[in-house]
Symmetry: C2
Subunit: 345 residues, 2 copies
Amino acid sequence: MPVETLKWIDQGLVIIDQRLLPSKEKYLLLNSTEDVCAAIRTLAVRGAPAIGVAAAYGVVLAALEKPDEEYVRSSINKLKETRPTAVNLFHALNIMEKHLDDAFDSDDPVAVFLEVAEGIRENDLRICRELSEHGARLLSDGDTVLTHCNAGGLATSGYGTAVGIVYAAKEEGKHIGVYADETRPLFQGGRLTAWELAKNGIEVTVICDSMAAEVLRQGKINHVIVGADRIAANGDSANKIGTYGISIAAREHGVPFYVAAPLTSFDFSLKSGNEIPIEERDSIEIYRAWGLTSAPDRVSFYNPAFDVTPAQNIAAIISEKGIARPPFDPVLESWRIDSCHEKIL
Amino acid sequence: MPVETLKWIDQGLVIIDQRLLPSKEKYLLLNSTEDVCAAIRTLAVRGAPAIGVAAAYGVVLAALEKPDEEYVRSSINKLKETRPTAVNLFHALNIMEKHLDDAFDSDDPVAVFLEVAEGIRENDLRICRELSEHGARLLSDGDTVLTHCNAGGLATSGYGTAVGIVYAAKEEGKHIGVYADETRPLFQGGRLTAWELAKNGIEVTVICDSMAAEVLRQGKINHVIVGADRIAANGDSANKIGTYGISIAAREHGVPFYVAAPLTSFDFSLKSGNEIPIEERDSIEIYRAWGLTSAPDRVSFYNPAFDVTPAQNIAAIISEKGIARPPFDPVLESWRIDSCHEKIL
């Protein structure tokens, strides 16, 4: 596994603190629901699939704190309020919620919740690996991939989605280079993607987000691959702010733009990306991240954390079900129906 | 004048240290050619027109150090090596070089060089104001402008080009709002443009570079206006890295994209932007600007300081001669011929 993002031990949930990378590799022990909420809100754990998994363990911690159905239910609601865009959070918490009755009918509610949470984590590892193997078919030996933000091991239970595809291609013996957008304001590309790729022996070049169009123009990139926080039924995909601009530049230069995400990142209840709630975060992230004063604090700021790339800018959507090409609606509908017949847990 | 960027006093050239803004408003006294070279190389003074003016004073300082024609000539060559992209540097130094004979034929070479340098500065102020007045005709009351990097007072002798247009529109009584891209890696938009706009009472919203496409999609922007470091005879315009990507996104959303620069930023000897030399700067600017560790230092970096926006993405080029619309070649050629008949100094 490329990264150990999060792991349950007897005392609680251990996560790698993603706010401190790459300067420090420090692990945090979360042993209350509130710890998990804070870790999600402050991005100590981030990435749509990883947020979902962490939240599931947050429910286990609630049951440990107080084995009471109403208490656990209210803890689930608190966890749902931490971040609005990644739908994986809601998917995972809805699964946990469905087990409230079983858990409290049993002798050991904590054991029931823990089994479900472990299942969610194992499922994430499995589907990330499956989607990565599908995606790797799109890459040829010697290709260079541009990615944005971090859709790697750190964004999931450990394998990754967009970056997982690069890991899978490497396992197949292909030599793949990566350009990583640093991803302002919080540098998830520079800090996290570059860190985990280097750790796993993959050649990575970090650029500022503003350099992506120029790098595409220079013909350095064969494929753009990004993750997603929420994909609507028509293929419109919300992902880290900046993704949309790259999709336009990629189209301008005839470079295929792919979105890689497990079905846990799909929201079939939304017809289009217009319905996806976009989180707006505190402007301090822009003007004083890590103590850096990069703007006067008396001016205005606008800090949307995500944008939506319209389906028409996307050449393929890759999930554990395979590779969808436009028009996406019928393929995504078949994936939806397929997934209804599966009982993840 | 919106900003006092640089000013000659008896002891030398005083500049505002643009590396420290907005945290500190500190002035530096440069009293040797080497001081001026270092200030240009390290971006204590930056912006194509301001670099040219500062370099002219650097020649005065050379003559003060050693009133010897060969010494001054070699100092001019040192100044030419500080930065490669902004053509204003070479224009200004070529003017100074033309006065070598007059200066050393006179009783007071320093006085001759100083008069020429002061003339270059005053000319810059005049032409920036003229181009800004032309550009202001494009703006209506209530408009919002997106700009990138800093093409304001700080980038010139004090009035600005792209941002000068906003100042001129304000002087005409129009209320103009500005979105300023922060402009990684060195935050000239967040640190400098936001600082000088706020200081001059203009409403400014700072965004990360990656947010520009989304802000354009939301319909918040009426005009994109940027400066230029070098414009080729066909209108292709080199400007701070990131400009090219914005030009693509602006076209995608039908928002006109303007380049504002005085003729001192034009290089009529180059047929197209392909011939413009693009500076590549130290990668430490990306991973450790201002002490911030934003990427592991053992990975690769690519740090081009500029990119070229092709003429077809530009709706208008604004200079002190007026407003050019595509096709640019004939208008720019008429500006060239016109400028040959003028004797700036």
